[in-house]
């Protein structure tokens, strides 16, 4: 598995290419054995609850974030017929259109990749200790809960 937490802008396409290359070069993912990869890219919107969002801060609980993301990927690797999984998540100050999260899963066949990618993302939303503070034209506010999906 591969987990990155970044306080710098994430280019999702470069990150996906680098993650796959790194997993292959380390031997964690065998070339020619995966026939499917599913990816989720989360991007910052400029609206939430009918308000314009100018910027956002993402804070986290560093030592627990790493543990919990490892738990989530470990559970997915145990439950689904997937070969590898990776996550990168942004922290710090972000602006609309910035990439906030990327989840990547590799498997022999598509079904396991699709299902695991979705489950990893949902688990991350509900368990990984990150919090968002939005900056609107009416001031700053903490995001109280996740959207329905």
């Amino acid at each position: 598995m591969l987990i990155d937490i970044s306080d710098k802008a994430i280019d999702p396409w470069q990150w996906l290419a680098r993650a796959q290359a790194q997993l292959i070069s380390s031997g964690a993912l065998k070339q020619h054995r995966f026939g499917a990869s599913a990816n989720f890219i989360g991007t910052m919107r400029d609206f939430n609850d009918d308000q314009t969002i100018q910027a956002m801060e993402l804070v986290h609980y560093p030592s627990m974030t790493k543990k919990e993301l490892e738990n989530i990927l470990h559970e997915a690797l145990t439950k689904h017929a997937i070969l590898q999984a990776a996550i990168t998540h942004r922290i710090g100050k972000v602006s609309p259109s910035d990439t906030l999260v990327v989840v990547a899963v590799w498997s022999a066949h598509r079904n396991a990749a699709f299902e695991a990618c979705r489950e990893i993302m949902e688990a991350l939303k509900h368990r990984a200790p990150f919090w968002k503070k939005e900056h609107t034209d009416k001031g700053a506010r903490w995001v109280a809960k996740n959207t329905q999906g």
Binding site: Y61, K67, H126, W131, W142, A144
Partner: protein, 76 residues
């Protein structure tokens, strides 16, 4: 001998506290730790973690533990 306490995000702003150490004497559960940092009952949504693992307010704590309180997570 003490317990390290961390508070995050909106809860940290509400309590005016992000990190503290409490003497471990007489602290048996996460609820006891909460009572050591706030006189108010914790909102039902407040989550607790002991040594970076999700726990319950009734979970046991001991000297050297790291106990964290935080609001519902909103990453991704």
């Amino acid at each position: 001998m003490s317990i390290k306490v961390l508070i995050f995000a909106s809860l940290s702003e509400q309590l005016g506290l992000s990190e503290t150490e409490l003497a471990a004497d007489n602290l048996h559960t996460a609820q006891d730790v909460w009572n050591g940092i706030s006189q108010q009952t914790a909102d039902a949504a407040v989550r607790v973690a002991i040594n970076q693992e999700y726990a319950q307010f009734s979970s046991a704590v001991k000297s050297g533990d790291e106990v964290a309180f935080f609001p519902p997570v909103t990453g991704g």
